[in-house]
Amino acid sequence: MISLLEIAERTQTGEKVEEKKWDMELFHTISQLVKKYQIEFPGEGCFINMDDDLAERAFEAGIECLESMGIYCITTRRRVRLTRDEILRAIDEAPTEIVMGEGKDRRVWKQRKVEGREKLNVCPGHHTPYSEDIAPLVIDNFARIPRADFIEGFNVTTVDGREIMGAPMEVYASRRQVGWMREGVRKAGRPGLAIVYYPINTRAEDLIGVMDPDHGLRRTDGILLTLLPDLKMEQDMLCAAIVYEEYGSFKLSGSFAIAGGFCGGIEGAIVEGIAKPIACMIAYRDYIHYTGVEHVHMLNARQILIPGITWARSVVNQALNKFTHTICMRWVIPTSGPGTELNLLEGAMHSIEAPINGMNLYAPRQCRTTTNHGQTPLEAEWMIEVSDAVIEQGLDRKGASELLAKLAQRIQGEQPQEGYSITECYDLAHHKPKPDYERIYSNVKNQLTEMGLNLPQ
């Protein structure tokens, strides 16, 4: 694989391109590739890709996209060109499993197979910002989920009672965040559980400042280093990638494409959704990715479900699992907030997709999360429960598709529900949902059972 030093040099020597030109070039390139490789949504009622040939064509489109466009460095406004050979070699050399954590909490996070029969790896949280008064207890709660293989940090708004502003305070807050994570997993009786640092900011100093084998990020922990949408990279992230590559921590990325943006519609997002994790791997050495396709209207909670979005995610993940070593995760990201029926129904859809398309499970939280208002441990336990049931029932693509169709019919046309803060609907002191939320959970479980999913009662 080409070295990170080579990437760094190319960010300084590559062709200069204005950002607007890059954006429109990406759109036109992807539009042409969608036509060339005949990537087309079959139509309403299609939730899981059944066309293996399409997955292969989509993969080829993704490779050609990366070969034609390269990666855009927004810091230097230059194009980082990649040859086809470099792209294919990077795909070939990437690992299919990552070891993380220590002692009894050592875990192996693996690439999955389409319609695989092994239980999935899980990151139960967080990604939601929490206030410092409840943060340690929240972490303790999530770390107690036995299937948690790693746990991710979150953004914070205050530290030691002060509002965080500017690089020095951000660095201080970053170290506190990781310190809370460390303390939280220890209190949960899982001192070796891998922590993934969620960047408070993307400045190099924030990303590197948490590296500390005694009190911060260990070599067996990880860090989230993500390419921006539209195949854009930052030199600060590359700085961190260079340092962490030598330190030994594993790296993750948010490698999904956003339909409605410069990649175009869902078909265009498939192309970027395949190109992006490969680009992340080359630019930052990310080997675990939350993959697929989201839609700008869903991320803004304007619509619960966009026709074709589940199918598009399916194509991306099938292509990545069949033709690359990408370790995929399904980011369970409902439009409705925690404590609501719709959140659990939406979460169920994502959790059914995941094992069928070869994805592990990642951090269920509401798309428009705000402080203390994004997730509770119940949604994480629910996503595990649903995906385990899918595997145990032996659902294949066809069976899962029928189930997804019923779920889609149930939620289509609904308006996202705002939901509740974690303390409003969850009892953190006793690690259980409050009675109203417990009733909602039972009701949703019954609905899924009636739809045909064999959930343990």
Partner: protein, 220 residues
Amino acid sequence: MELSNLPQGQRDLLDSLRDAIVAIDEEKARNVAEAIVNEEMDPNTAIRYSIAHAAVKVGEKFDSGEYYLPHLVMAGDLMDEVGTILGRNIPSDQIGEKKVIVIGTVQGDMHSVGKNLVSTMLKSGGFQVHDMGVDVASMAFIDRAKEVNADMIALSSLLTTTMPYQKEVIDDLASMGLREKFKVIVGGGPVTEHYAKEIGADGYAKDAVEALREVKRLLA
């Protein structure tokens, strides 16, 4: 000039221009705009009717999922071009001024998708938009707003740790005695209406479609 007072042929031209912009048919839009100029039709009517209506329709297409961000960019550029053609014969003292908005993602924040959507939507909606990009220092917003005689400053933040810079811009405007000179609207993932009120912003929008509505309301 009221539309109903125009002969059918001229009304057809205005509809044709509107439809060409919505379809992002650059050649046709240019040709029809030239035809409107040659007919010596009132350019302000054409701008008010064809371009403004086209902007609404383009926004609707984005909202429905038919159009994506690149379409907004192309439509916005086409509206600018058509506006220039139509405006050729408007005496300079009669040129209707567009409301001016300075927009950017605040200091320390590199996220641009949401900001780009809003920026493009506002441009398509008929505003003159100065997009300052990402990681913009608070004073830079104010300096640019003064330079271009802006009506509004729009601030995007996608990280909780950069939200305080939205407040900093507002506070700096107040300490410089400029608070009343510029409306301020804020948005971004972790930003809420409650936070917007708390920091003294004039408006808040949760996405690009809402942003256009809110900006029109604030600058009416």
